[in-house]
């Protein structure tokens, strides 16, 4: 039986297997159709119906269930999540698992289509070490992401001492809902220090 205890391990392996079968296109279709459209349709429904309130309800439930170390901050027409200890990437790091080329892409790979359908856009950055931040705004809201500490104060993951570390490499997504719009980022020049 395929279980949920080590789900992140075989999820990562599955990304690599799908990529072998059909490249980036099949993997992106998988995140969009199977994860966003099927597995996480409860998230999609909540966010479409309730907007920011739906995001709060969904992530409060799922991040508690996954025992994540995170904070969620609500600002003026924006929801921000600071992930200090990603339970998913953390599982891979603790167990020395790395089958797929960029595991962290899967999050925007499915959250992006959910947000697009519900009328939101995303600013997001991850350091591939279990830390990331997200800001969700209504599509058409062109305000830039917050500066470090501006919205989440001390909970801002960009203020953490290990946000920048020797193992970290940064990917940045700006005002998008597509995993294809990835910008490799230098944290000195990225939204971390805007």
């Amino acid at each position: 039986m395929l279980g949920c205890y080590d789900f992140c391990g075989h999820y990562d392996w599955t990304f690599a297997w799908l990529h072998e079968q059909g490249g980036d296109a099949l993997l992106r279709d998988y995140w969009r159709e199977a994860i966003a459209g099927d597995s996480q349709r409860h998230a999609s429904q909540l966010i479409e119906e309730l907007g920011f309130e739906g995001m709060k309800k969904y992530w409060a439930h799922t991040l508690e269930e996954e025992a994540a170390g995170y904070t969620m901050t609500e600002g003026d027409a924006v929801i921000r999540i600071d992930m200090h200890e990603c339970p998913s990437k953390g599982f891979l790091l603790r167990n020395n698992l790395s089958h797929s080329t960029d595991y962290c892409d899967h999050c925007i790979g499915w959250i992006g289509p959910v947000m697009e359908k519900a009328g939101f856009t995303i600013d997001h950055e991850h350091n591939h070490c279990g830390k990331c931040w997200w800001e969700m705004r209504r599509t058409g809201d062109e305000r830039p992401p917050s500066t470090p500490g501006e919205l989440a104060d001390k909970a801002d993951v960009r203020s953490a001492s290990d946000w920048i570390n020797p193992e970290a490499s940064f990917d940045l997504f700006q005002k998008t809902t597509s995993v294809e719009n990835k910008e490799p980022a230098n944290p000195d020049q990225s939204a971390s220090s805007i």
């Binding site: 395929l2 949920c4 205890y5 391990g9 392996w13 599955t14 059909g22 159709e33």
Partner: protein
């Protein structure tokens, strides 16, 4: 759940998490993954996925079964089901086999509780995955039942008779 007990049990698993049990909503993703692969790559593609997953991702477990024999198989499955939420499973060793009597499958239970449309052949995955893993350990696995209640048997010496696929029940969705 007693934390000390669960940590001891988890010692038989190849990969460890910080929490004693997994998040049941991940069964939604497993079900959706099966549907996607069947739709895109067909039934044979899905079976190939499961067999490769069994042989490659689970290689550390398969190696421990090969080295430890049936006690290692039994220990693994006790630890496995202790870490899956919502199941009711008895694991026992008897006459050259390990038998898993699954009175309530945690995955099917969670999927049905949340009114998910379950892939009809969902229960077959346990056979294709389990048999690939057993083969890698020099054993065999057979499955009977499904749709929430079933019996898995691991044989130290592979039986001559192949798996009867008609013995695996399709899942009925709500």
């Amino acid at each position: 759940m007693d934390k000390t007990h669960s940590v001891m049990k988890a010692g038989n698993l190849p990969y460890h998490d910080t929490k004693p049990q997994g998040a049941a909503d991940f069964y939604f993703a497993i079900n959706a993954t099966f549907r996607f692969i069947q739709d895109r790559l067909g039934r044979q593609g899905w079976i190939a996925y499961l067999r490769q997953l069994g042989a490659r991702y689970f290689a550390p477990v398969n190696d421990s079964w090969r080295q430890g024999g049936l006690p290692a198989v039994a220990g693994y499955w006790r630890a496995f089901f202790a870490a899956e939420p919502g199941g009711a499973v008895e694991v026992r060793e008897e006459a050259g086999t390990v038998v898993l009597d699954i009175g309530r499958c945690p995955a099917i239970h969670h999927l049905k509780t949340h009114a998910r449309e379950v892939v009809p052949s969902y229960c077959e995955h346990c056979y294709h995955l389990g048999q690939a893993r057993a083969e890698a350990a020099g054993m065999a696995m057979r499955l009977e039942g499904g749709d929430g209640q079933c019996r898995h048997v691991y044989f130290a010496h592979p039986p001559e008779t192949p798996q009867d696929m008609s013995a695996i029940r399709a899942v009925t969705s709500c």
